[in-house]
């Protein structure tokens, strides 16, 4: 569904991505793990057209979107839950969710998806009229995930959705990721929480200073020695 070939990104003099190759199959959960500064967020941002690519190509459903702008990419069905939540702090929970559906015109479908998100995250329903800035960190993360689902994406990319959350909420987030995936959404997941991510992933990539050094089925990577040492703390 999404094919990334030889992706290169420069930030001024910094060569952040040095030829990344990835393949995301439809209906799967794929995770991308790696140390801080490896270039994980940069990979997702460059797919979304938020940072300029200095080389390589991104093919989505057979179409070259390397040079597309962010709006067109969202329209084609890719959404990103950005690192660090980034909810709009002075708007209500409902307004944040509706902003996620900004490009959609189908009122009925928007209403249905809103209800679906409220069943995924009942806490958001209770707080529908609350200003996002006053939500707890976990609630903000739920809002950020809900908001990116509101564009009804076929591919949802999540950048560290469990960042800074209590272990019990992390479990909730992971089960919701699975539920989203069961609803037919392909998922590309970045996680520091490598073990949990690998457990739910069909396939995974390990990124080190801008290059993919290892890839394989989630289960295989969990038992891989190098991965265990570097990312699973074993």
């Amino acid at each position: 569904m999404l094919k990334i070939e030889n992706l290169n990104v420069h930030y001024g003099g910094i060569h952040a991505l040095r030829g990344v190759n990835m393949h995301i199959e439809k209906g799967k959960i794929i995770s991308l793990i790696g140390a801080n500064g490896a270039g994980k967020s940069t990979t997702l941002k460059s797919i979304m057209g938020l940072v300029n690519k200095s080389g390589g190509s991104v093919i989505y459903k057979g179409e070259d979107i390397t040079k597309s702008n962010t709006i067109d990419i969202v329209k084609k069905g890719i959404a990103l839950t950005p690192e660090g939540r980034k909810v709009f702090p002075d708007q209500t929970v409902k307004e944040n969710l509706l902003l996620g559906a900004y490009l959609r015109k189908d009122k009925k479908g928007i209403k249905e998806d809103l209800e679906w998100i409220y069943t995924l995250f009942p806490r958001l329903l209770e707080r529908e009229w609350q200003i996002a800035a006053t939500l707890s960190g976990g609630e903000q993360q739920m809002l950020a995930v809900g908001r990116s689902l509101m564009s009804r994406p076929e591919l949802l990319m999540m950048d560290e959705p469990s960042l800074g959350l209590a272990p019990i909420i992390v479990k909730d987030i992971f089960s919701i990721i699975k539920e989203i995936n069961r609803a037919g959404v392909s998922v590309l997941l970045i996680e520091q929480n490598a073990k949990a991510a690998l457990e739910i992933s069909d396939y995974a990539y390990v990124l080190e200073t801008g290059v993919v050094t290892l890839e394989g089925a989630g289960k295989d990577l969990i038992s891989n020695d190098a991965v265990r040492k570097a990312y699973l703390g074993a």
Binding site: I71, P82, F88, P89, Q91, Y102, L103, I131, S151
Partner: protein
């Protein structure tokens, strides 16, 4: 009560000029809210709108001249943003400020060239330039219309910002360009819209202001522009209600100062106020955390 009766003409004049400052101040505060830019050219655009009013009535009947002035100013505001600010979107903020100062001087010099430096007399618009008596005080109709029109426009604007999809997008952009883009919002369109609204209000303000203070010269935008800017800072730059309240306070205070006979100090008051705010409460009355911030 005696104070109010004795000073009624000054209070009325203050409310009126306050409304005119408010219409200019909204342009400053909204642009700041979105771009974190102090649009130094805004006061000069107000002056150009005034000048355009002078010339437009010689080209066409008044009922066409008024919409013409408004449309011209809106296009000018839109064009300034596209030409002078948009290419600098990813440049340091200081570069954009310098560009704004450049546009300000460009407009002033253009006006100097066109007018030859002479003060032009603003056309008197029937009805709103008429005089009326209110509780024994004589004043122009425009004095009474200004606050009403200002409040109506501000209410419409606040409704637009708080209760429409477009307003939601504006509030999102004012917080975070990148995340707004992820929602599919066109940042450039939202910024253009902000300049369009600001220019529209400044054009309406110019018609009201120059109907009252009839001389238009190339520097005519400087003083009202500066006062509107102080009003925006006083109210908490970025906040629309703050700018409006600040503008009315400044308008009323400076006229009461004239009323008690200290006319020479009425301008100085505004700037003394600016210094005091910056020292005591730099975020202004409704600074930063305000919900209506755009």
């Amino acid at each position: 009560m005696d104070f109010v009766r004795d000073n009624l003409p000054y209070i009325l004049a203050g409310i009126s000029v306050g409304g005119q400052y408010a219409l200019i101040a909204i342009g400053y505060t909204m642009v700041y809210g979105i771009l974190r830019l102090i649009n130094f050219a805004h006061g000069d655009m107000f002056m150009i709108a005034g000048l355009m009013g002078v010339y437009a009535v010689t080209w066409m009947p008044l009922y066409l001249a008024i919409p013409f002035v408004i449309i011209f100013t809106v296009i000018l505001g839109f064009a300034i943003e596209r030409v002078a600010y948009k290419p600098l979107r990813s440049a340091p903020r200081m570069s954009v400020m310098i560009s704004a100062i450049g546009v300000s001087y460009l407009l002033q010099n253009l006006a100097l060239y066109i007018t030859g430096g002479l003060t032009k007399t603003y056309p008197s618009i029937p009805w709103i330039s008429n005089t009326v008596k209110v509780f024994g005080a004589t004043t122009k109709v425009v004095t009474l219309i200004t606050p009403v029109l200002t409040i109506a426009l501000v209410v419409a604007l606040v409704l637009l910002i708080n209760h429409t999809k477009m307003g939601m997008a504006m509030r999102a952009v004012s917080r975070d360009f990148e995340t707004a883009r992820l929602m599919g919002i066109k940042i450039d369109s939202v910024i253009s819209l902000t300049f369009i609204i600001g220019s529209f209000l400044a054009a309406v303000g110019s018609i009201l202001y120059f109907s009252n203070y009839t001389g238009v010269m190339p520097t005519a935008g400087a003083m009202p522009g500066l006062k509107a800017f102080v009003a925006a800072v006083f109210g908490g730059i970025g906040s629309i209600p703050g700018a409006v309240i600040g503008a009315f306070i400044i308008g009323i205070c400076e006229n009461i100062i004239k009323g008690v006979g200290w006319t020479t100090f009425s301008d100085a008051f505004t700037f003394a106020l600016l210094i005091v705010i910056l020292i005591v409460k730099p975020t202004g009355l409704f600074g930063e955390k305000n919900i209506d911030k755009v």
